[in-house]
């Protein structure tokens, strides 16, 4: 490939990502320092032509002060991080043995088992959440079955609470945990496990002392792939959560669509990005660039 083609191959996607990924984040940062107004669009310009022809810079931290003054935002962040962390942990508890079992199954069967993990990922996210609503509702399928079996007298409160949100996140993001761990395990040298057994290590101990450390990369990638988007999740808390389920994605949505306070939403976005910056950077370091020379 000639130099000109190479430059174009890099420049085109690069320019796109700068324009539609980096620039928007910069604009969010700018608007977060703007005043909320009742105009359209509902924020005061940050730069204003002064009467003397110069440009006046009028940053305002009122949006950030709002975030600090109302404990709702703090609890929303706390709720998001807690729910994302717990869900990630549960995903790991389920996903690690699943990936292990797939990696140790017969080679000709592995592709089918992997495909079965990926399949739900290809089907609509919204529909999968909807499927759980049908199951968990007070008049839903689970409650109907439990009542008709006589196990409970009145419907269990399965939906519109934090439990349902955790369940929905684990369900939706499980494939993102299984696949990277499986990819790491698939490359593993299984004679190491045999060597451990030969040296007298019991299976469960071998699993934690040999297998787990060797697929650390997969576990880390899977955990970040679940944790980061889960922390910003909107659909699941909105559909499965209760009125008191506080997650920052949902608050941001409300701030933007219901309260129409764009500077506050922008400030929330910036706060969210700062909180998630470390995990995102960690993912970047290990994510795409597996081929680092």
């Amino acid at each position: 490939m000639s130099g000109r083609h190479r430059t174009l191959a890099i420049a085109a996607p690069f320019a796109w990502m700068l324009t539609f990924f980096v620039a928007p984040l910069a604009i969010v940062l700018k608007i977060s320092f703007s005043e909320s107004t009742a105009e359209r669009p509902p924020y005061a310009p940050l730069f204003e032509m002064g009467t003397d022809g110069g440009i006046a810079f009028q940053p305002s931290v009122s949006a950030y002060l709002l975030l600090l003054s109302d404990s709702l935002y703090f609890y929303a962040f706390l709720g998001s991080l807690r729910i994302a962390a717990v869900s990630t942990f549960v995903c790991l508890l389920i996903g690690l043995p699943m990936a292990y079992a797939i990696a140790r199954s017969r080679p000709e069967r592995r592709n089918l088992l992997v495909l079965l993990v990926m399949l739900p990922f290809w089907t609509s996210f919204l529909i999968r959440v909807y499927a759980w609503m049908a199951l968990l509702k007070p008049t839903g399928i689970l409650n109907n079955v439990l009542i008709s079996l006589g196990l409970v007298d009145e419907p269990l409160p399965l939906m519109n609470n934090d439990f349902a949100v955790h369940l929905g996140i684990v369900y939706s993001y499980l494939p993102f945990m299984v696949l990277p761990i499986y990819a790491a395990l698939e490359k593993m040298d299984w004679t190491l496990v045999e060597a451990a057994a030969d040296l007298g290590c019991r299976p469960l101990r071998t699993f934690f002392a040999v297998t787990t450390p060797l697929c650390w990369h997969g576990i880390a990638a899977g955990s970040l792939l679940v944790f980061i988007p889960a922390a910003g999740e909107f659909v699941i808390p909105d559909l499965l959560g209760g009125p008191d389920t506080l997650m920052v994605g949902r608050v941001l949505w409300t701030e933007f669509f219901i309260n129409r306070d764009w500077p506050a939403a922008a400030a929330l976005t910036i706060a969210m990005l700062s909180v998630l910056l470390l995990p995102i950077l960690a993912f970047q370091r290990m994510g795409v660039d597996t081929d680092r020379p």
Partner: protein, 269 residues
Amino acid sequence: MTAVRVGFPRILLGLGYAFLYAPIALLVIYSFNESRLVTVWGGFSTRWYGEVLANERIVDAAWLSLSIAAMSATVAVLLGTPAGFALARFGRFSGRTVFAGLLAAPLVMPEVITGLSLLLLFVGLEESIGWPNERGMATIVIAHVSFTMPYVAIVVQARLAGFDRNLEEAALDLGARPLAVLRSITLPLTAPAIVAGWLLSFTLSFDDLVIASFVTGPGATTLPMLIFSSVRLGLSPQINALATMMLVAVSLCLVVAAWMMGRRQTVSS
């Protein structure tokens, strides 16, 4: 390997699959429920399917979503394939780390952030250069390309990393000019990844609710937006039927794709 050692994970694997598939299976079963009460079985019926197909708002939204998905997947492939090449084949070019980082970040970026930031960009552009004067299909396509292109880049990069770098050199050595090498060696070998990347982008775009909700304008309601507003009000038998139809369509596409890839695989592995 003794049975005891595999037994425990294998049981978990079975439970894992049950967990993944049971809700979907129930959704499909109840889509054939006669009763208007979605969760109470009232006999077999296909009436809700008829109602979905007769519902103009659903059909219009579905068409809009399909068009958006097809367009954004195509653009994502056009931009993401060279990006995958750059990552896999260009060695250490300057800015590689930034480039790789820019492609990795959208994979985990929470949708609300992507959606809000893109909307603010579009509003800002409209203010300053007058475009886009109306948000809708075009802005959704741009937004979808931005978050699906990295997936294409990764799939293409993985495929390229998987085969011998000497292949292209061998073709050059045998007298093929660079363009002929691209046509006869590189593209045929990358094709499965490009197809997979297109399908992945298509699905992600077709499925997206949050980003589209931010960057859309009046008049452009995608299928997920329609489903979401309906689901927020409660369960609806029509949504069950629509969901089943979408599941069947996606499964069919995947079977065809897997079959094509399988054929490719025997050709190329």
